[in-house]
Symmetry: C3
Subunit: 213 residues, 3 copies
């Protein structure tokens, strides 16, 4: 049977793999070539967790464990192979891979923050940061408007998932199930927002402005 | 009466509030929506201090103190409300909010760097970095040419304010007054540069180049 | 005679100087002015090493040693002077300065990572990160497509140089010579790739796409 800590390791690896795929897909979309593709995959995959560990003043997770790099290389390689035989890929694939990575990293960030003494409020912020940061720098490097800042409940999904996690912890629900609840909540809010264009209006409607950036 | 450390806490909170406002204003300008607005406000508000603490190898200031997040949420909320009733806002407001944030964070960075053993020269650099970094990533994420790299004495204001701080410390001026001197110097240089278009010519004048980026 | 650690200090300073020059050249190209030029030079020069030290959870190299800032100021000043008397500079100069910085920082990153207990595989990644990161943020800030993501063996040069370093270490070659081998390998692969347009095809050739970004 899986222990908690094995779970966490696998979730972390799964998040890394999924974000490495999303980085590789973006590199392909941007007509990059050579090892730059792997650099973008790696930045996307380990950016969020690296920031989380630096902020929590912990040793960065991948320094003592090369398995994360093997996973990145493998994920990039498989994605590259797949792309050789499928000359097009729909943008939707990138977004779905991104949603899974977001959910995995959100939960890992939450869990690690709470474990190292953050208050629930800070832990929710740190979970969202872990989930959001890798994709944010991927988009910034590629000069896209970051997904996280578009309208479709991106950071919001992390925050709702985080609230579910904190709530379940307070209700003394079994920790593996708590993990699963937070994971699914984040994922479903994000996928639902993509599918049905949910959004959270913050500003009053603008008049259409032809000069908008 | 205020003690020094209470002062510092309030200055840090004020800097966070002011940069959160500038992040929210920029988000509105870029027609963002949902929690992405809060993400941009938070990145702008805590980016500089987070970098400072990571470089000084200290626990990051907001991990053990959720009040910074409350301030960010409050500042973003008030700004959003204000924007509902004032459909336009002049760019100048954003620049003035930014100037206050710059001055607050410059002083906090200086003070913390000196406290943890940096030499005066390094402390000035670290103060400027604290002041400049949040706005830099705000602008990079929003694909604007960063304010810090434009002509109007942005980083220079920090460096002059920092030099005033170090000088006042050497002259054994009361530490609260030293703080105030550095704060006002930074602020006035920056506001003066905006008002009267002061600049520091570094390169010889270019001929006008129609292909300039 | 030079000891190893003196070597390292000089290589670090040389890398900082060379990247400061490349940052100043880029600032000139982008028509920046004032202290923003020095900010860009500094970000380029110390960005990679700062990230390396934060990831290895070490005190950041320049906090206790102001000499790095003197070198940045000097390098920026000399470059600015030179530019006053040579109104044009070929892009090639920027690329060559960048190649030297890449090689210096790659070797420093490798060396420091191995010294603090990273496995060879992680050390190669961390060396590449040190070499690549300063230039990456320089390009992101200036809204250029980062050099590291273009086709000409940029990250790849670091990885080949890193592999040479690890190999030479395993063969018990004298540590100063190992250093030199890694330095020259990285430099020559990068310069060769620039000169003869070497590249590493990762994706199958795209049809020309008029909408490519």
């Amino acid at each position: 049977m899986f222990s908690m800590s094995a779970w966490f390791h696998w979730i972390d690896l799964a998040g890394v793999a999924v974000f490495a795929i999303s980085g590789t897909l973006m590199a392909h979309r941007k007509h990059m070539d050579g090892f730059g593709v792997v650099v973008l995959a790696a930045v996307t995959a380990i950016g969020g967790g690296t920031l989380r560990d630096m902020i929590l003043d912990l040793p960065v997770f991948w320094v003592s464990d090369p398995s994360f790099f093997y996973v990145i290389l493998l994920a990039a390689f498989v994605t590259i192979l797949w792309l050789r035989f499928h000359s097009e890929f729909p943008l939707r694939y990138l977004l779905v891979a991104d949603a899974f990575g977001l959910a995995f990293f959100n939960v890992m960030g939450l869990q690690k923050a709470l474990q190292y003494g953050a208050t629930p409020f800070v832990a929710i912020a740190l979970g969202a940061m872990t989930g959001v940061f890798g994709g944010l720098i991927r988009d910034v490097i590629c000069r896209e408007i970051p997904l996280v800042l578009r309208g479709e409940l991106y950071a919001t999904a992390c925050i709702i998932g985080g609230a579910a996690y904190v709530l379940a912890t307070h209700l003394d629900i079994d920790s593996d199930i708590t993990l699963l609840i937070a994971l699914l909540t984040t994922l479903l809010v994000r996928l639902g927002a993509m599918r049905w264009y949910w959004h959270l209006p913050v500003f009053a409607a603008h008049e259409e402005d032809p000069n908008r950036d």
